[in-house]
């Protein structure tokens, strides 16, 4: 359409890279939790491609809620 913006998947990927860097500075337990959270993030991104995403953080939030809903997260 002649309007160039960075693809949403690329922006989300940039956030993932940042989160991975942060994870590298944390304790093994916390690192594991963050890396576990990032697992299968592409699935949520794909799901949201049906309705669109305005804010890339929205994808991370929804992914977090999905994992929370599945009972994946336990107190550290």
């Amino acid at each position: 359409m002649g309007r160039n913006t960075t693809p949403m998947k690329q922006i989300i990927n940039n956030y993932v890279v940042r989160l991975e860097k942060v994870a590298g500075m944390l304790s093994p337990q916390e690192r594991e939790a963050i890396l576990y959270f990032l697992k299968d993030l592409d699935e949520t991104t794909s799901l949201l491609s049906h309705i669109g995403v305005v804010d890339p953080l929205e994808v991370l939030l929804i992914h977090f809620l999905r994992k929370l809903g599945r009972g994946y997260f336990k107190p550290i």
Binding site: M1, G2, D40, S49, H50, I51, G52, V54
Partner: protein
């Protein structure tokens, strides 16, 4: 006496149209002049006076005033001066003088020759009846065959120039030999792309006369060009630089002419003001998942049949029907921020409805007869349908608009969501979705796959088909990283054979040796039908690649195996600095990887001149597209 001829080509002559006819019975060619009217259209603030002056000038046959509807929505009308002449040169002269006097020339598209053929009902590449001085069109049925002609098709493949003629294939290392081969025979039709045609002309100027008709829009099959000529009334002589987009626009232009819709290239359908959120959410394409890389078993791929064209036809989507300010019957789509007016049929849906019908008909004919001509025509129609959607959002599209484009994409995303939920409610898992295609895991048989397709059709209301059923499907990782790529996958079909998409061996710029290596490796994978067999097959496939690696390291290859064929769309004048081989060579680029990068191949031996590591890196890429050797 009446005789049947094929209408092969049409040119404009001084006394009318020059028809180039071909008799299949006597194998003879005939040229005939046909007197047909050409029409000119001018808009003036005083149309009656213009008509008076035109009649007075005696340059034209007749002139009158008509009411025509004007863009963007074709709801209000304007007085248009229409004049008729039987000479194309006079038509052009009168229009030129009219414009110089401040009149507005409208309906300058399609070409007057195309419009004249349309008015006369003469369709290129169909049969006509000639009796005396009269030429009558004969009814064309899509089941009829194409004319039997001597055709040469010229293209570049695997670093070699290829000339395909009457079942024989000639391969040449250089353009000189190719040109010599082509001029040695006289053909009826020559097909190639414009770059190669220019190279051939440079080498051998008589090449132009070695075929009666040249199609230089790309090395498509003859039947595809013939079908485009028939659908759009564009004769081969005007097909030279015509794009697929021009074919669909011509069809739309002729439909507009029937309805007395003014075609005015200067009118644009302006997009309303939108906030950033709306823009990001709506100005998008179809659904494209990021699939999880890996090996999947029993995968069913269900495709919607001509999804975008069917959406356009079903919802009456056209530039002039979307977001119409004054409309009686408005449809508000819950998934799109636009409205569609149903008061009248849009130009785009009417133009492509027939193509949708033809595509299905050709599919059925090919299935029942196995004749290649129907497959070729199906491909031709499919190209036009693909372009019909693309042109809807193109800024210079005559009957498109950004809003219409968005309605189509948002509808497709909505339908894919409905389809996904329907599949999941059956207990299956969708592993990938690609615009109009769903990949469903855990579907054991083709019959089960048909049931899935049936459920999707019933739920969405749009026709689907089982595109493929895979015993296994592999989605490779990205070259850098561990994510999946939407359009790169391959798998073993339960019907036999393999389907390959986007991987190295299907790319046109892959050197033959690398293509061969990957094909051999995939042949090993294709043996596997179970997970246990796959473990063995993966090891064998990697061993195949190791063999090719050794072959490259030892210099055990022929020169042609290393050649890379590349095209460069930007050309020398691109705003991006072109690669070295573009500046040094001429298209089509036949290259090899030398120590100084990609270098034009001159025919000299490549021993000790190639950068073997470049080819080894390509083999690494091939290896990364296979399941890892550690696969269990």
């Amino acid at each position: 006496m009446n005789e049947e001829f094929w209408l092969l080509d049409v040119c404009s002559g001084s006394e009318g149209l020059l028809l180039k006819l071909y008799s299949e019975n006597s194998k003879t060619f005939l040229e005939k002049v046909l007197k047909v009217p050409f029409y000119g259209y001018l808009i003036s603030s005083d149309p009656e006076r213009v008509v008076y002056e035109l009649r007075d000038s005696r340059l034209i046959d007749s002139a009158w005033v008509e009411d025509w509807l004007i863009p963007p929505h074709y709801r209000s009308s304007v007085k248009v001066v229409v004049f008729r002449t039987y000479e194309l040169s006079r038509l052009r002269y009168v229009l030129k003088v009219g414009v110089s006097k401040g009149l507005k020339h409208v309906n300058d598209f399609p070409n007057p020759v195309v419009e004249a053929l349309f008015n006369a009902g003469l369709v290129p590449m169909t049969k006509v009846e000639v009796s005396g001085g009269d030429v009558k069109p004969l009814r064309w049925d899509p089941t009829y065959s194409d004319p039997e002609l001597d055709i040469v098709r010229i293209y570049v493949e695997g670093g070699l120039y290829v000339a395909e003629a009457n079942g024989s294939v000639g391969r040449f290392n250089n353009v000189k030999d190719l040109a010599k081969y082509v001029v040695s025979t006289k053909y009826d039709v020559g097909i190639t792309d414009s770059e190669l045609y220019v190279r051939l002309l440079e080498e051998e100027p008589t090449i132009a006369s070695s075929a009666r008709i040249w199609f230089t829009g790309g090395a498509f099959r003859a039947g595809e060009y013939f079908e485009w000529c028939r659908r759009s009334y564009i004769p081969p002589s005007l097909m030279g630089n015509v794009t697929i987009g021009k074919v669909i626009t011509t069809m739309e232009g002729l439909e507009a002419r029937k309805r007395k819709y003014v075609i005015d290239g200067s009118t644009r359908r302006v997009e309303y003001f939108r906030d950033m959120t709306n823009l990001i959410l709506q100005d998008r394409g179809g659904v494209i998942y990021s699939p999880k890389p890996g090996l999947y078993w029993n995968v069913c791929q269900v495709d919607f049949r001509s999804l975008y064209p069917n959406i356009i036809v079903r919802f009456n989507i056209s530039g002039e029907t979307v977001d119409v300010p004054e409309c009686g019957k408005v449809v508000k789509l819950e998934w799109a921020p636009h409205t569609v007016c149903m008061d009248w049929e849009g130009v785009v849906p009417v133009s492509i409805a027939e193509l949708v019908r033809l595509k299905t008909l050709y599919e059925e004919l090919y299935k029942s007869t196995g004749l290649e001509v129907y497959e070729v025509r199906r491909a031709a129609v499919k190209w036009v349908l693909v372009a019909s959607f693309g042109y809807l959002g193109y800024r210079n599209s005559l009957f498109g608009s950004v809003m219409a484009h968005e309605v189509v994409t948002s509808t497709s995303r909505y339908l894919m969501g409905v389809a996904r939920r329907a599949v999941e409610s059956m207990g299956y898992r969708v592993i990938h979705a690609l615009v109009d295609s769903l990949f469903v895991e855990g579907v054991a048989t083709v019959d089960e796959c048909c049931r899935v397709a049936g459920v999707i059709s019933n739920t969405t209301g749009f026709d689907t088909k089982v595109e493929s059923h895979y015993i296994w499907l592999y989605i490779p990782n990205t070259v850098k990283g561990s994510r999946g790529v939407a359009n790169r996958y391959y798998g073993k079909l339960s019907s036999g054979g393999m389907k390959l998409k986007g991987i190295t061996c299907v790319r046109s710029d892959t050197p033959p040796i690398i293509r061969e290596a990957q094909m051999r490796a995939l042949e090993e994978l294709a043996i596997a039908n179970t997970e246990a067999e796959m473990v063995e097959a993966v090891l064998r496939a990697h061993e195949v690649l190791r063999r090719y690696r050794r072959k490259l390291m030892c210099g055990d290859f022929e020169d042609y195996e290393l050649l890379i064929t590349k095209s460069y769309g930007g050309g020398r004048r691109s705003y991006v600095k072109p690669p070295k081989y573009v500046l040094e060579g001429k298209p089509p680029y036949t290259l090899y990887a030398g120590v100084g990068g990609l270098t034009q191949y001159s025919g000299q031996s490549l021993k000790n001149r190639v950068d073997v590591y470049y080819y080894l890196r390509l083999l690494d890429r091939v290896a990364s597209e296979l399941p890892p050797p550690t696969y269990t």
